[in-house]
């Protein structure tokens, strides 16, 4: 299985990349880690006329915290997140996911921003981005815009990035106060696509009520989806077992899975609920709330 023929271009700077994209528009695809795009090209699911390799742009391989965000550049690889002390200490949801993306060798090449742009319905990072209220910085040769995760994921394998544009970074809000999270995923083996996944992030108020809940589910529909009804149920409430069960029910209602060799639609819908509940219990446990939850 070889990809269809294409012209290969390398960009050595952001300006070079944007100029190439301005010139070639929708004929060009951006190559970062390539861990999803290259298999897609091999299966001829993607046949770009031009492949624009951004790996030589060293300044896009970064991760920095400041101005209320953790910002991750387009060339930063998953493996860097896995060993980051900043992520381990403050960004629990991201820390969890960084250990579960694909397999350890794939993580040495794959990138977070690339995964977000690929927007596979079973991808890990879209779910995480939705639950943690991430934003993406998108640029073209004329300027820059910021798009919230909620508006970024348009449909399976399609995003808000238009022809001639490129996503340059993702920004995760720095958790304030008592915040934790958890990423839950069922997979048949390491590196398989998720059977179902859930991302949870919770911030507690001083009185122990939930100030802000972020919940998203993946692999159980055409794209990763925020479970807004579950968030609304939780916000302002003290966490209880019944509340967690009710939030899980909302995830099951919104799940729209397709049956495949990983399981029936019924099973996957059930698992969406189970994983949201597990994510909530794990997040609360990390916040020192055990008791009723």
């Amino acid at each position: 299985m070889f990809p269809a023929a294409f012209d290969y271009l390398q960009a050595h700077s952001a300006d070079e990349a944007l100029a190439a994209l301005a010139q070639h528009g929708g004929d060009a695809r951006v190559l970062a880690g390539g861990q999803s795009l290259i298999p897609a090209m091999r299966f001829r699911l993607a046949q770009p006329a031009i492949l624009l390799d951004i790996n030589p742009i060293a300044e896009l391989a970064y991760m920095r915290e400041g101005d209320g965000f953790l910002e991750i550049g387009a060339c930063e690889r998953d493996a860097a997140l896995e060993v980051s002390p900043i992520i381990a200490s403050r960004y629990h949801l991201i820390a969890d996911a960084s250990k579960l993306v694909a397999d350890p060798v794939v993580r040495q090449s794959g990138t977070v921003v690339g995964s977000l742009c690929h927007n596979d319905p079973a991808g890990d990072w879209p779910t995480v981005a939705l639950a943690s209220r991430a934003q993406l910085t998108i640029r073209n040769s004329k300027g820059s815009r910021t798009v919230a995760a909620d508006d970024f994921f348009v449909d399976s394998f399609s995003t808000a990035v238009a022809d001639g544009e490129m996503a340059f970074s993702v920004r995760f809000p720095t958790p304030s106060g008592r915040t934790s999270g958890s990423y839950q995923k069922i997979e048949r083996k390491v590196g398989d696509f998720a059977t179902a996944s859930a991302a949870v992030q919770l911030t507690l108020a001083d009185d122990g009520t939930i100030r802000d809940a972020g919940i998203a589910i993946g692999a159980v529909g055409p794209k990763a989806t925020r479970v807004a009804a579950a968030e609304a149920l939780l916000n302002g409430q003290k966490p209880t077992r019944d509340l967690i069960r009710a939030a899980a029910e909302e995830a099951k209602k919104i799940a729209d899975p397709s049956p495949d060799q990983r399981g029936s639609a019924e099973y996957k819908r059930e698992m969406a609920g189970v994983l949201v509940a597990r994510g909530l219990v794990a997040s609360l446990g990390r916040l020192g709330v055990k008791g009723e939850a």
Partner: protein
């Protein structure tokens, strides 16, 4: 398209189609058939090589043109002057292979891993090779071999790893 790469310390220049995958470039253009192609879809880890000394990559999921200007180490680059690399010796000693098909990928994954984590425990070793499939050994002896190699490499430190920068 011209590609200049250094493989196992030797410089090569070749003209390739952009769609040539690194695994096929190594095997067919350079004749280095130690790098195996298993699943050909980024799932099995047989084709892993080391890029620029410390990054394990699945060579079926990288284009040869993207390796331009980079250094690659394949399984053929492990042995130095007739002396097996500590990982090779450990795989031999611990019977870490049976049919041998996954072995180059296992070893190259572990070469990079032991650079990143020179003193891993059993669990970390199992994690590290979780993207590499072996259908013969049940992994027990591979993990044993990795432990032996880790001990050997950290004892010997720098000199033994020459060529696998």
């Amino acid at each position: 398209m011209k590609v200049n790469v250094t493989v196992n310390g030797r410089a090569y220049e070749r003209d390739v189609e952009p769609r040539t995958l690194l695994a096929y470039f190594l095997r067919e253009d350079l004749g280095l058939t130690g790098t195996h192609v298993g699943c050909d879809t980024s799932s099995c880890g047989c084709c892993v090589v080391v890029l620029d000394g410390d990054r394990a990559v699945k060579s079926c999921t990288m284009f040869a043109v993207a390796a331009d200007g980079h250094e690659i180490t394949t399984v053929e680059g492990l042995e130095q002057n007739g002396v097996l690399h500590p990982l090779q010796q450990a795989f031999w000693d611990s019977h870490g292979l049976q049919c041998g098909y996954c072995t180059p990928g296992m070893m190259m994954t572990l070469v990079a891993f032991l650079k990143q984590n020179p003193k891993p425990d059993k669990h970390e070793i199992r994690e590290a090779i979780s993207g590499n499939l072996c259908r013969c050994t049940g992994y027990q002896n591979i993990v044993k071999a990795a432990e032996q190699a880790a001990a050997e490499l950290s004892k010997a430190a720098e000199p033994q790893t020459a060529g696998v920068k």
